[in-house]
């Protein structure tokens, strides 16, 4: 589907770049690499990538800075790579406009899935009034949620959360983003509201709420709606 898409990798680690080059080229992507933030920003203007993979721990520029400068002129999807110790950077990066993140070490399967989702999102399947997942259908036009064909009774808040997540299926949605979409900009810090509602929502749509199939928790970051495969 995304064959031939152009990916720019900005990472100071030579081995990671080589690994990504080999692995992603094998899946038909064309790659360009940069070892520093400045080089990366420069390369972004020359290479015109369809997606940027950005490591947050760069030697010259702060990862946030790179995201901000990219966002000044392009909406190219950005997938952030980080180590666990830089969790706050990760969240800030996502709130600043990065599309998704991966924690090092990551598996190639995960990265490929993130890349596909990010590129597909840009290609645009918006305006689709019915979101269909295995066993779960969210009909945005009629505000209807069907689980295994049966209509689910959701409160307005639960529905808004599910809708916000399902619209970004496959991508992480940060707590802030979700709170802003559902409750408005004044409730961006009230993450405990979310915990309560996500818990309720899970009990309604998940078979085993402790092992959720649709709404996955991204520790410390937010939630990710998966297609439930």
């Amino acid at each position: 589907m995304a064959e031939g898409a152009r990916i720019l990798v900005i990472d100071d680690d030579h081995q990671i770049r080589r690994m990504l080059r080999v692995a992603l080229s094998g899946y038909g992507y064309s790659l360009s690499e940069a070892a520093t933030g400045k080089e990366g920003l420069n390369e972004a203007t020359l290479f015109h990538p369809d997606l940027v993979i950005l490591d947050l721990g760069l030697p010259d520029l702060d990862g946030m800075e790179v995201i901000n400068r990219l966002r000044e002129w392009t909406q190219v999807p950005i997938i952030v790579l980080s180590v666990r110790e830089r969790e706050t950077d990760k969240i800030n990066g996502l709130d600043a406009g990065a599309d998704d993140y991966l924690t090092k070490p990551f598996s190639m399967g995960e990265l490929l899935a993130r890349i596909r989702v990010a590129i597909r999102h840009v290609a645009g399947n918006a305006d689709e009034p019915v979101l269909t997942f295995p066993d779960l259908i969210v009909d945005l036009a009629r505000r209807l949620v069907l689980l295994k064909g049966e209509e689910l009774k959701l409160t307005p808040t639960e529905y808004e959360i599910l809708k916000a997540l399902a619209l970004h299926a496959g991508r992480v949605v940060t707590h802030r983003q979700l709170l802003r979409v559902v409750w408005g900009p004044n409730f961006q810090e009230e993450t405990h509201y979310l915990r309560v509602y996500i818990g309720q929502l899970r009990r309604k749509i998940e078979e085993d709420p402790a092992r959720p199939r649709y709404i996955l928790t991204e520790a410390g970051v937010g939630y990710r709606f998966t297609s439930g495969e």
Partner: protein
């Protein structure tokens, strides 16, 4: 001897009084001597006049004693030597008596004065010694520098009868470490300049010294290890007289004592540090042993599998390749998990572990941990027993996830394959109790309390690879949350690890959520 006169001069507060008393004493002697003089040779009366001389010398020193001598001679001449009631002298031998009397008066006066001075000095010295001794005892019994300096300032202020402050400075800044009375503190800019000078040059300055003598305070350096660490500032009041040597010495002695106190505290700190270092060295050794084992084991399997694939890549069938690749994946997972544990421990150890405690649904954390450790617990059915509508817990998501992962991993590692693992959570009073129960061999009760110690491994389990770090990290994390962790063995079947986390207070989380329903 030159300076021995100084204190006696300063001790007579009103110099008129002693002379008045001396005069009175001479009058008294005259009144007593007159009626009885007819019974003796009048030369003996001169002996009576020695009494006021001695008294004045002992009590008030040289001046009054000289005064008494002259007064005695005059009175003797006037009242006793014929012609009586006249200063005229009829017999030349009385001139000789006067001379001898004056000489005797002078000598006894001087000697008595000297004895008096010695006594005074001894008293001073005793007072000083006692003050210093009392202070050194107080210093020895206190461990906190601030407290010691406060005691120091108070004791010294009482001993020298003035205001004392201990000041330290850095660059242009001059601050107060301690002072007595509290109002003493840091003075005006002029005083600060003197303090800065003293700190910089390590010499005394101010009143009574060669430098800045017009200042009202005397400022001494407090030196520890040849470095000036603070300044001792003494204000003895508005008087401008030169500072008596005795007091100056006393102040110097106090400054030395302060230095001793500071050095003693430093040494104690250093000793403590050395001990801490030794302990951490022991720990480091154990840690290194454990690290090298836990890092090398997965590395060995990865290296083995990779080199096999590289060397014989073509000849393996699909299944063999799959097994080798899985080995690599598993080894990498174990390495990553171990590194995470090491980092947690390093942070717990250094005290830099910052909790990002927020309200979380415990079921959520359990879910993420299960997802994370999915591969490891494979082959063990995991039963999750968490009721709906549990209150939220205040916890750091990532860290509690780690606790759960460590407990689940242990359960999978030590319990026989295929046996069930049960994760459950229930609120009890103000805590949430979360437990992971397995069907593994029961940990002996006497080892139960040690398994949370660093590097402790249950005797029987030594054949299974492990660092003995996991549970100690669990305890560190749980205790950082204000909870507890323990193990028991209900019905003697398997082990149940339980930890507690503080709950959201009633109405703090749920009602907040409900209140939003209408928004």
């Amino acid at each position: 001897m030159a300076n021995s006169r100084a204190p006696s001069a300063s001790i007579c507060p009103a110099p008129v009084k002693p002379y008045a008393w001396t005069l009175l004493a001479v009058v008294l002697v005259t009144l007593i001597g007159k009626p009885i003089s007819s019974l003796f040779d009048i030369a003996n009366v001169t002996l009576l006049y020695l009494l006021p001389v001695l008294m004045a010398a002992v009590r008030w020193g040289r001046g009054p004693s000289l005064f008494a001598s002259f007064l005695g001679v005059l009175a003797f001449d006037f009242f006793f030597v014929p012609p009586v009631f006249s200063f005229a002298v009829s017999d030349i031998k009385y001139i000789f008596t006067f001379a001898v009397f004056l000489l005797v008066g002078l000598v006894t006066g001087t000697m008595a004065t000297r004895i008096r001075d010695e006594l005074e000095k001894t008293k001073q010295r005793e007072k000083r010694t006692f003050a210093l001794y009392a202070l050194s005892e107080k210093i020895a019994s206190k461990a906190d520098l601030g407290e010691i300096l406060a005691t120091f300032a108070r004791t010294m202020a009482e001993a020298v009868d003035g205001q004392v402050s201990i000041l330290a400075g850095e660059g242009d800044y001059v601050g107060e470490l301690a002072s007595y009375p509290a109002s003493a503190g840091v003075g005006d800019e002029k005083q600060k300049a003197v303090v800065r000078w003293v700190l910089e040059h390590g010499q005394g300055a101010g009143r009574g010294t060669d430098i800045l003598r017009e200042a009202s305070e005397l400022i001494f350096p407090i030196k520890a290890d040849k470095k000036t660490v603070a300044a001792l500032c003494v204000n003895l009041g508005p008087e401008r007289r030169p500072l008596p040597m005795e007091k100056r010495q006393l102040i110097e002695a106090f400054a030395n004592l302060a230095a001793v106190a500071i050095i003693r505290l430093r040494l104690a700190e250093e000793a403590e540090q050395v001990q801490r270092l030794a302990e951490s060295e022991k720990l480091h050794k154990a840690l290194l042993d454990s690290i090298s084992h836990d890092l090398r084991t997965p590395l060995a399997s990865i290296t083995g599998a990779v080199t096999s694939l590289l060397a014989e890549g073509g000849s393996y069938d699909q299944e063999a390749k799959g097994i080798l690749l899985d080995t690599i994946k598993e080894g990498a997972f174990r390495l990553n998990h171990f590194v995470a544990n090491l980092l947690d421990m390093a942070r717990l150890q250094s005290g830099s572990l910052k909790l990002r405690a927020e309200w979380h649904d415990i079921q959520d954390i359990v879910g993420v941990a299960l997802r994370e450790i999915h591969d490891v617990v494979e082959g063990h059915p995991v039963l999750v027993n968490i009721g709906p509508d549990l209150p939220l817990v205040k916890a750091d998501f990532g860290l509690i996830e780690h606790v759960l992962i460590n407990l689940l991993e242990n359960a999978a590692k030590y319990a026989p394959g295929g046996s069930e693992i049960v994760v459950s959570a229930r609120p009890v009073e103000s805590m949430m109790l979360i437990s992971v129960a397995d069907r593994g061999p029961v940990i002996p009760a006497d080892e139960g309390e040690h398994i949370f110690d660093k590097f402790y491994r249950v005797q029987r389990s030594k054949s299974i690879s492990g660092s003995g770090l996991g549970l100690s990290i669990c305890r560190g994390i749980v205790e950082a949350h204000g909870g507890m962790i323990w193990v028991d063995s209900p019905l003697e079947r398997g082990n149940r690890f339980t930890f507690s986390l503080p709950l959201a207070r009633q109405g703090q989380s749920e009602t907040a959520g409900e209140g939003l329903e209408g928004i």
